[in-house]
Symmetry: C2
Subunit: 309 residues, 2 copies
């Protein structure tokens, strides 16, 4: 949303305000005011016009303008009703040199998870990818995956859903999958060029419509009512923005919500399956597993929670 | 080089062989044989024609066809007399989906090192970038930088130059810089999509023509005579190919040539300078420094060798 339209929107929120008064306050023509009001209506903002002028009656439930409005984090929002993959789009934006952009969609038609696994993304979810360029070596990039898990867990708890995190990047409710995260990155060893953190949130979708092998749940199913996707998305972006600025705080925050620590786990790694008790997580995101033969630190892999022996 | 031309070249090396005999042996027309012979001559191969047929008299000192000929590693070679940056070209090839390609140049006009530092690449050097797609998590990618340092150190020693490695990726002769390595990569945490290892070798160049702040040397200056760039490049590619197939052997190989271990070092890291004795290197490439307050493991940073205290 451009700066003038944003100021029109803020004035309408404080309204009613007459067209001429608004034109004068913003230093633009009455025709320009009218154009911005129409533009806001097209974006789904309900702008009422009465005898005393215009006023903002309601904000759309979702969409780019809705999420950008009153967003407390410095991300541009690019919204799509439907897109093959928000991560693929964010990678293209990265190649063009962009940064601090959120690609947001109501539906993905070709969403994918880690290791090319399918990720179902029907309308009603929150499918977003954050593109940014942290000043960090590549080895620290995993911390941003943890930060995303923390951000969305906090947003879920704020919405009344008791979410927990399974290492490294699944957000669960009672072991049912609520959120998937896929982080992609490019750079040289000393320096990240860009990171794209894809966050797929089963928001207002019916778990029965999702593939059952992931044992899915959704915010709507857990709450018994739809979540306000606009404010939920804003909360995720704001929490993430705060965390990315203090990467050293992320691991402690992650531990608070972790369901993996203290449990028996089996982790598939390139060099075989490691089984034992997950005892800790280390910066920037490695899992420490106490096995029969000693401690093993694992940087990446598929983690299964096992029954206690 | 296409398959038929390659077979023509091999036959010429075993020559003399007549055009008609060659045409029949390869199942192609005499005109096709003639075309391939001309193509080889254009690539710098000296093909003599006498009464008893064609024979290969000499192989060019450098170039794509020369390096590809008898190369014992499965890389395609794309050669440029002059190119802005072999790494940039390899990244473009990566975006197109290519793998196992070497971009090779006699001169780079916009070469760069780590962290956008300038890297002078005049004609006479060996400027190459290896593009490949290892089956490895991103966290293991640093091992390929070490592998490149080992490969080129072995090639240098084979050429009579007593090269050593300074952590993580400088190849030195008596603390003078012979080779710089710049590794770039893209992928998700669990899986590398591609790695580009750029290797800049001061081969047959005059160190006096290179920026003096790097305290440069060259193979030619150390040997007192030019190196055969074709066979040197082949050796680097063959050593690297063997090492990338056994990443777990790379760290031991690296230790053999390391000049950093056992020395006092100061390493600039994102969280400050770490000073102490470099005591070891750990897979996939982290330096272990014994400081006054304990051991620190460093994944990336600028390393200075300090005088003993």
């Amino acid at each position: 949303m451009n700066e003038t339209r944003h100021r029109v929107l803020e004035a309408l929120a404080d309204g009613p305000v007459s067209g001429p008064a608004l034109a004068e306050a913003l230093g633009v023509s009455r025709a320009a005011v009218w154009k911005h009001v129409e533009g806001l209506r097209e974006s789904g903002f309900d702008v009422e016009s009465g005898d005393d002028g215009y006023r903002l009656a309601s904000v759309p439930e979702f969409g780019g303008a809705a999420v950008a409005y009153e967003l407390g984090a410095p991300f541009e929002v690019e919204y799509h009703d439907s897109i093959p993959s928000t991560n693929a789009r964010a990678r293209d934006l990265a190649a063009e040199g962009a940064t601090d952009v959120v690609v947001l969609a109501d539906e993905q038609t070709g969403g994918r998870g880690r290791l090319d696994r399918a990720w179902s993304s029907p309308s009603g979810g929150i499918w977003l990818s954050l593109l940014f360029r942290p000043d960090a070596p590549m080895a620290h990039a995993p911390v941003f995956t943890l930060a995303a898990a923390v951000a969305v867990t906090r947003a879920a708890r704020g919405a009344g859903v008791d979410a927990t995190i399974k290492w490294p990047n699944d957000v669960l409710v009672d072991d049912r999958k609520l959120v998937g995260i896929l982080t992609e990155m490019e750079g040289e060893a000393d320096r990240v060029s860009w990171v794209v953190v894809g966050i797929g949130i089963n928001a207002n979708v019916d778990p029965a419509a999702l593939p059952s092998d992931a044992d899915p749940t959704s915010l709507e199913a857990e709450r018994g009512s739809p979540v306000d996707r606009r404010s939920f998305t804003q909360r995720v972006l704001e929490e993430f923005d705060a965390l990315r600025q203090s990467p050293e705080t992320v691991v402690d925050a992650w531990r608070e919500y972790a369901t993996t620590l203290g449990r028996r786990v089996g982790v598939e790694t390139p060099s075989g399956t490691v089984e034992g008790e997950a005892v800790d997580i280390e910066f920037p995101g490695a899992l420490v597993v106490e096995t029969d033969t000693g401690r093993v630190t694992i940087t990446a892999g598929d983690c299964d929670h096992l029954r206690p022996v």
